[in-house]
């Protein structure tokens, strides 16, 4: 297809959320020819929805705070399959990255002494769990993600970053050696297909919560980067690990920040009992999210749920008073009124655990370099491919992410990837050009949709996929049901392969974008399903009725899903941080 227009960059960043923009900023400052390619205008990315804050030991609320305590919480929160060298990097580099954001203008809330306001969040402790609850989450009221994303976009404008806004990346282009040398992308406004060549391709495409029927995620969170990488044959790590946020608004799925509980709110069942006191006597409502979500589901299953159908619980905030709510949680007041029709200053908010975050993703090292395994099962760098943010699995979140750690992940590893790529470009990168047939193979699925002449349509297939995932791979999982789910998914894959795109016009064809997104949802769903079925233990967010205990003998490992043969392998977890002692796996209680 030599008639494709091509664009050339030193680095192309796919995704304009927090991680992508942070990486782009680093590269733009270095003067490298960089572009951000985003399917939405960058400030519409899902980072904008993050509410509670960015967790980081900047020693503001507590002058004695220590990043090692934060690292301990992160490793423990991840149920010990977070890579300790990565957690060490994130927690120790974090303060630098947060101060940079402040210098860029992020409007953090403040303490009286003028320093950044920090609030307590779940799973936070002082002194390696021995010193009680910590307050470590830096916040801009309850709009921290919005403030962060806009600040990063603004600073990219300041540094003249090139933006390809409302462009959709279709697939990665690999050369004959298997190096990633760019992508095929579509300018959504005109429908033009362009070959984007680059020496470094960064997938910062965020999560894929839309594989579930009920999710806090934006409609755009369809796992595009994961889909692209899987189709290119690269493995995915820990895809069974999906976080269900305890407090999604019942019915609507919109998120209510953990900061509500950080500020003193708590969950009650239909008897008005603060039930978390039974499940986590110390941390109570601020236990790890997996623990709280499971406890809520237990309450509901045991008949103590609220409402007519007893299928949710209440988040009580009215005792905080209008002043605190107005000052610290103004966005939550707005959302509750809009989506739950309750004023949290007067009534509790009906909430239910809702799919929120993908801990798994493209395995990378701390520099964002994508990793695969060679024939002997050893780590091998994928040339030209990088990932950061939710799409990546560094892994700092292990089996369960702590609240406030996602924003930190974005900026720390977006920045790290940018710095590494700058260095690599300075040293010189030369890969073989993609051949006609390499480009042709990246065009395959685009051509498939464009040539489709009949069959099922995208919305019904998407609904089917979401319902399979919701029913078989939710908060609690079990062999037989998952077997059924995996089988249904493989049937669904066939149906999607024969699905139909009725509208083939070019100008701003959102139907075509949704069709291409469906392919990605399918890839993510299947990777999730097979990984979940194979991990025969309960750890972090992955809870199985049939294997209720953590199995450190067999499963103190990352799972690694290979798309070619749909096989699940294991990968070692890193237990060798550089400057601190290893945190040995312990029983995880809150």
């Amino acid at each position: 297809m030599s008639n494709l227009r091509s664009l050339s960059f030193d680095a192309i960043i796919i995704g304009g959320g927090g991680a992508g923009l942070r990486a782009a900023l680093e590269l733009a400052k270095s003067g490298k020819k960089t572009a951000v390619l985003s399917k939405v205008f960058p400030t519409r990315s899902h980072t904008v929805s993050a509410q509670g804050g960015i967790t980081c030991a900047i020693a503001s609320a507590d002058p004695d705070d220590d990043w090692r305590w934060h690292m301990y919480d992160t490793v423990k929160g991840g149920d010990y399959i977070a890579d300790q060298d990565a957690a060490e990097y994130m927690c120790s580099e974090g303060p630098k990255a947060v101060f940079e954001l402040e210098h860029m203008g992020l409007p953090f809330s403040r303490f009286d002494n003028g320093r950044i306001y920090q609030r307590p969040f779940g799973g936070q402790s002082k002194d390696f769990g021995a010193g009680g609850q910590a307050s470590r989450t830096c916040a801009a009221a309850d709009r921290t993600g919005h403030a962060l994303l806009h600040t990063l976009y603004q600073n990219n404008l300041k540094n003249d970053t090139t933006f390809l806004n409302e462009w959709y990346a279709v697939d990665l282009v690999k050369n004959a050696n298997g190096d990633v040398v760019g992508c095929i992308a579509m300018d959504i406004e005109t429908g033009e297909i362009v070959h984007v060549k680059s020496k470094a391709t960064v997938l910062a495409t965020g999560g894929a919560g839309r594989i579930y029927a009920s999710t806090t995620n934006a409609l755009i969170n369809t796992g595009d980067g994961i889909g692209m990488a899987l189709r290119a044959g690269f493995p995915m790590q820990d895809m069974e690990m999906w976080q269900f946020h305890p407090t999604g608004i019942y019915g609507a799925g919109t998120l209510v920040t953990e900061g509500c509980r950080g500020e003193g709110g708590y969950l009650v069942n239909k008897d008005g009992e603060r039930f978390m006191e039974r499940y986590a006597p110390n941390a109570k409502d601020l236990a790890g999210r997996d623990v709280v979500a499971r406890s809520m589901v237990m309450e509901i299953l045991e008949g103590r749920g609220c409402g007519e159908n007893g299928d949710h619980v209440f988040l009580k905030l009215d005792h905080l008073g209008e002043d605190v709510l107005g000052k610290r949680l103004p966005g939550i007041v707005e959302l509750s009124k809009t989506f739950a029709h309750v004023d949290p200053a007067k009534e509790p908010i009906p909430v239910v655990p809702t799919c929120h975050y993908m801990m798994g993703g493209i395995p990378t090292n701390v520099h964002g370099q994508a990793i695969m395994q060679d024939a002997d099962g050893r780590d091998q760098i994928v040339n030209g491919l990088f990932a950061c943010g939710e799409a990546a699995c560094v892994s700092v979140h292990g089996a369960n992410r702590l609240g406030g750690n996602s924003l930190l992940d974005l900026v720390v590893f977006g920045r790290a990837a940018g710095m590494f790529i700058e260095g690599a470009l300075n040293e010189g990168i030369e890969y073989l050009d993609a051949s006609e047939s390499d480009i042709e193979s990246a065009m395959k699925r685009m051509n498939r949709w464009n040539e489709s002449e009949g069959g099922e349509t995208v919305p019904e297939l998407k609904r089917a996929l979401q319902s399979i995932m919701q029913n078989s791979f939710g908060v609690f999982r079990e062999e037989e049901n998952m077997q059924k789910g995996v089988k249904q998914l493989s049937e669904l894959r066939e149906r999607i392969a024969n699905a139909y795109l009725p509208d083939k016009t070019n100008a701003f064809n959102t139907a075509r974008v949704e069709a291409l997104e469906l392919d990605n949802l399918m890839e993510v769903a299947e990777a999730t399903a097979i990984s979940a079925l194979e991990r025969k233990e309960s750890r972090g967010a992955h809870s199985r009725y049939d294997y209720p205990d953590r199995d450190d003998v067999n499963w103190l490992k990352h799972s690694l899903y290979f798309p070619a043969d749909k096989r699940l392998a294991k990968r070692d977890v890193n237990f060798t941080p550089k400057t601190v002692d290893t945190f040995e796996p312990k029983v995880r209680t809150y």
Binding site: F41, D112, R115, H146, E189, T338, F339, F508
Partner: protein, 236 residues
């Protein structure tokens, strides 16, 4: 009555010689859903219907549109708030070129945003930790930084309709004041110098359409008044 009569602006540059209004009957099953949900239902019937959407909770600013004559975000506007006589009329944001259906070309809007240099400028060396800011100084940014760039305000402003290339518009000016009001920003002088011509700020006639439509409850007119006060204090 659970069937809603929806009249929606349609235009596909490849297949239509001119825009037209298309009628849909949508069965909402009597529920008070959001306008965005109605759009999803229509898109199931007509896959080609184009509109932007992302967060579906009113923070990303994608789905600004004109609903029964008033700009707003489709995702946080329940039918009960807009429908008149069981009829919903959906049009793209006014005053910007239409790309397709409800999707408008936001280029001019973004250009005005970029023009006001929407980033903190501080020429003093950054400290090793954060720059300190008192809670009182931080409070001055409330009602300013929350803007989601949905363009509901600027596209409801006649001054922006007439001079979208010269008048910064309410959204851009709100952002401009967000940085003028920031105790950490040191570029006040050069920011003001960029604004004192007869168009950038002074085309605001204070009719407050922007305030009436802002889905985040912000007040650009007040911010524009404050900019004028600063210009006056600076130049007299």
């Amino acid at each position: 009555m659970s069937t809603l009569q929806v009249s929606i602006y349609r235009y596909n540059p490849e297949t239509d010689s001119a825009p037209y209004m298309q009628e849909f009957q949508v069965d909402t099953q009597g529920r008070d859903v959001m306008v965005l949900d109605v759009l999803h239902m229509m898109k199931e019937d007509d896959n080609g219907l184009a509109y932007r959407r992302s967060c579906r909770e009113g923070v990303c600013g994608s789905d600004g549109m004109n609903m029964n004559g008033k700009n707003g975000l489709a995702c946080i506007t329940p039918l009960s708030e807009v429908i008149k006589g069981n009829k919903l009329v959906l049009r793209p944001l006014p005053g910007l070129p239409v790309i397709r259906d409800l999707v408008v070309d936001m280029g001019l809007f973004y250009k005005q945003y970029e023009r006001i240099q929407p980033y903190l400028q501080n020429d003093t060396p950054a400290p090793a930790i954060e720059r300190l800011q008192s809670p009182e100084d931080r409070d001055k940014l409330d009602g300013l930084y929350e803007c989601i760039l949905c363009a509901c305000c600027s596209t409801s402003c006649p001054s922006f309709w007439w001079n979208p290339d010269k008048f910064v518009g309410p959204a851009g000016l709100l952002q401009s004041y967000r940085f003028l009001a920031d105790s950490r920003d040191t570029a006040t002088g050069s920011r003001l110098a960029e604004l004192e011509d007869p168009f950038s700020v002074f085309r605001c006639r204070g009719i407050m359409n922007c305030v009436a439509v802002c889905p985040k409850g912000l007040n650009p007119t007040r911010a524009i008044g404050k900019i004028r006060d600063m210009l006056m204090a600076n130049a007299t």
